[in-house]
Amino acid sequence: MWATLSLESRFESTEIAERALVDLFGEAGVGGDEEYWILTALREAIANAIRHGHYGRPEESVRVDYRIKADRVSITVVDQGNGFDPAVIPDPRDAENLLKPCGRGIFYMRRFMDEVAFRRGPGGGTMVCMNRKLTPRSIKE
């Protein structure tokens, strides 16, 4: 089961991406907490692409690929930005960062997915690849 979206780089697009994943999860029988946390990670990945990848330039596009196979969901979000080094992202739980208003998005993605990898996208931007094992009761191929 899979889907691909090409979205305008606007925050409203996050809703479209969420709805698409909810639809897929509906068909696959995935729901509850599992769905909630995966949607949270998706929201963060798309928000990063729009805010940090494209700096709000709506003419850029964000590509989102979803794949549900066997007991795993894989989500890829690709932007057309300049990329970044995830190694330099500070831990938002450190005392000096605790009261900062930003810097938690990647932390949440890593927390709520099993694997999160940042790669160079085909067009030079950032490609975020996330996946998470799904609970056996919920899988419908």
Binding site: E44, A47, P101, C102
Partner: protein
């Protein structure tokens, strides 16, 4: 996001419902709290009982509002957090920053 604002004595209670996510509630949250602080409220209680989802932008606005209130000598406290919002605050250790209450009466009383 929808909001309802009322006062219980000198405590300004802002009840929110819906999503506090980027472009859909995060800015509104900041404005609501800023307006209350500008109007002279020094005791602000954020009721998150109706919130279905929050992202890092929403959390960031809550943290910024907390700091803004503190810098003005005001207090911002939270009440009626769902388990998921509680979890989101727990994993980033923000639960140690905010005063969080299970019910409104207890929260209002805590302001003194």
């Amino acid at each position: 996001m929808k909001q309802q604002i009322r006062d219980a004595g000198d405590v300004r209670i802002i009840s929110l419902s819906g999503k506090i996510t980027i472009g859909a509630g995060d800015v509104m949250l900041r404005e609501l709290i800023n307006e209350s602080l500008e109007a002279g409220s020094t005791k602000v209680l954020l009721d998150l009982g109706g919130i279905t989802a929050i992202d890092s932008s929403g959390i960031g606005e809550m943290v910024a509002s907390y700091t803004s209130a503190k810098n003005r000598g005001a207090q911002l406290k939270l009440v009626n957090l769902s388990k998921k919002i509680n979890d989101i605050l727990q994993v980033t250790q923000l639960i140690t920053v905010f005063d969080v209450f299970d019910n409104e009466a207890e929260a209002v009383q805590s302001f003194g």
